[in-house]
Assembly symmetry: C2
């Protein structure tokens, strides 16, 4: 498996597409609105104070579908609010906003680009003269590589992406260490495999922070939301159940002779859902960012279940919830499954998975823990040339590690 | 017809696609290499002297296929040459280059993005350490609207695009003036129609220059190559034959009852191939650019005919040349024809067209005149705030006229 080539949400806007099955991710964006609006205000202020030039905003892992432009809309709304509060009072010109929508090259950018005209009409209707002039570009590439020249971005945003790793840990991909019957960390995962996954997270997230710090202007902002772990016990993380039940469905197909056991044992997800402490540790070690906000919130597995905890923690219709969760997960992981096991397994696999989820939700109403962290670039400590040399020499060979 | 929605080259990389039928455009890019390399050197110098920040390069009307990244490759090669000559000697850091590939939203950006990884491998292999760090974004939108914030681009490039108009002239599209049996200016076109087309060119090109001037840094460069007219007589322009013979093929379909006459009469191309003098006049009136180079060169109609004039001006195999020209024109105009007349006319129409071209080429070896112009942004004369007001207020409503 090559993550940059094979990992992408289901394309197009049909029934099984990510565009039609991304309500969970939408809820997360709406939940993080206050944090995002604060970061936009800070980024806007820093872009104005740095004397002209547009405010540059990048959404990392933008995907394709309604959420892609929801982020653009939220940022434009926040800038419009700022404009009404500040700039207009002082008679200043509105700040131009330049957006970069980033995702891996397999993302359906054509779908996003074709919706821009309609989006503009709605935005103009909604915000009128307060709408700042804005420009939207698509930027293909992994956020574990450099995406921008030095010091040119004011705000990075990323939602539901940073639990994806740059690769499956080498020893696991090479078969030196095995995680029999699983596709991610679950109850029977050996400690050596857990250690590999955790190290991959630490390396990836640390790299991510260093790269973005180079690309941010002084005082630049980041808002990151991604799946995490509430349970301290890594073998029983909440998100582990999601993949564990999918691995169980694959085990059923193995038993039925429809999938080879070796295929399942060699399938490992490039994924890690960290705890808040693990996230905080990497940020601290990077010495590149100050944490302005960090929180963990929870979201019902079923994207269409809008009940709050004080409604009793019930799943009203387990069967329907199973179907809903399966659709959502298929839109995310379908292409990767199809690449490894073949297209033909998809329908049967996700039927079994929906049933497994339904049974599980009858026992306990599991939730996705989402970590939201807002960061401000700290002032660089490294002598400039030294840092440059390191990054440039790495760049030419396409690596930064 | 809505140009922004309906005008795009044939997508994908199949037999009829633009990607497989763009040798003519490739030859033009290679022909303009020396002009482009000079402009890159000037843009590179101005980006270095303006004190850090990346060199920003935009290719307007990039399309999808081998030519798209050929421009990126040429620019990177020219920067690498500069680096070896200048920057490395002075021990300076290499300049980062940020590319924006622009085209209308219907362009197949996914195809372009998916070829970036292979392109990078080849570029690294070819240029090694001299390859500057670079980044490639896709920018959907019409170049007759604002595409960038103020003063952030160092070099604009555009090849084989600026003969396309922003729209069919209103009076022609509305039916108040007619151009019976034609789809562009040809022998029987009334003077009123010629005037409308010419005015549309003047308005569009003037708008284009004003918009780009706002987006260019001081001293910024532009290299534009587009189809033009060598013949002073507008009714017998060389490119007019190309569309005239296609209109004849449509007339044949009308006679056969396969296309309604009204359909043909209401089909008008958003196109104008100007003379060098017409181009020069608009540039002079804009007062926004200094012409550093202008030339007209000619290219054989058949993209696979590499013979020069001193080979005798012969077409060796008229039938094959007819087929070659038809494939090339179908890749460009096929989607627009299909939108107006329906998919079902395409095969028959381009068979007839190939025959018409073959007959024509036996009589005279016609060529496409290509105008290449290299421009340098002149210093803005308008008081800054006044200009800002005008552009900003226009922006909010999505217009600049």
């Amino acid at each position: 498996m090559k993550v940059e080539r094979d990992l992408h949400m289901s394309r197009g806007d049909g029934e099984d597409s990510y565009a039609s099955n991304s309500r969970l991710q939408e809820k997360s964006i709406l939940k993080t609105r206050p944090v995002l609006h604060k970061a936009v205000a800070a980024a806007h202020a820093s872009s104005l104070s740095s004397g002209g030039g547009a405010m540059v905003v990048a959404d990392l892992g933008c995907s394709s579908g309604p959420n892609t432009l929801l982020v653009v809309s939220e940022v434009l709304g926040a800038v419009a609010d700022r404009r009404e509060d500040l700039a207009m009072a002082a008679g200043a010109q509105p700040q131009h906003v330049q957006f970069f929508l980033n995702d891996l090259p397999g993302n359906d950018f054509n779908l996003v680009f074709q919706s821009l005209e309609l989006f503009k009409k709605l935005a103009v209707k909604d915000k009128g003269d307060a709408l700042p002039p804005y420009y939207v570009a698509g930027l293909p590439g992994s956020f574990y590589t450099r995406l921008f020249p030095d010091r040119c971005v004011h705000l990075f945003h990323s939602s539901y992406c940073l639990m994806w790793r740059s690769k499956v840990p080498d020893e696991l991909a090479g078969g030196a260490v095995v995680n029999e019957g699983n596709m991610y960390i679950w109850e029977t995962t050996p400690p050596a495999v857990v250690a590999l996954y955790r190290r991959q997270f630490q390396e990836d997230f640390s790299l991510f922070l260093r790269l973005r710090h180079r690309e941010l202007v002084s005082g630049g902002q980041m808002v990151l939301a991604f799946l995490g772990r509430k349970n301290k016990d890594v073998l029983h993380g909440e998100v582990s159940y999601m993949w564990g039940l999918l691995a169980q469905a694959l085990q059923s197909l193995v038993k039925q002779g429809r999938v080879e056991k070796e295929k399942l044992d060699s399938f490992n997800l490039p994924f890690y859902a960290p705890s808040v402490d693990e996230v905080r540790d990497v940020i601290r070690q990077s010495q590149a960012f100050d944490v302005t906000h960090i929180q963990l919130f929870e979201s019902n597995w079923d994207p269409h279940d809008d009940m709050e905890d004080d409604d009793g923690g019930l799943v009203l219709d387990g069967v329907q919830s199973g179907v809903n969760v399966a659709k959502c997960i298929r839109a995310v992981i379908g292409p990767l499954i199809a690449h490894h096991f073949g297209d033909h397994v998809l329908d049967g696999l996700f039927e079994l998975y929906a049933k497994n989820v339904a049974v599980h939700l009858q026992k306990v109403k599991t939730k996705y823990p989402v970590i939201v962290v807002s960061l401000k670039a700290s002032i660089s400590r490294a002598p400039k040339n030294q840092a440059n040399d390191k990054y440039y020499s790495g760049f030419t060979h396409g690596q930064f590690m």
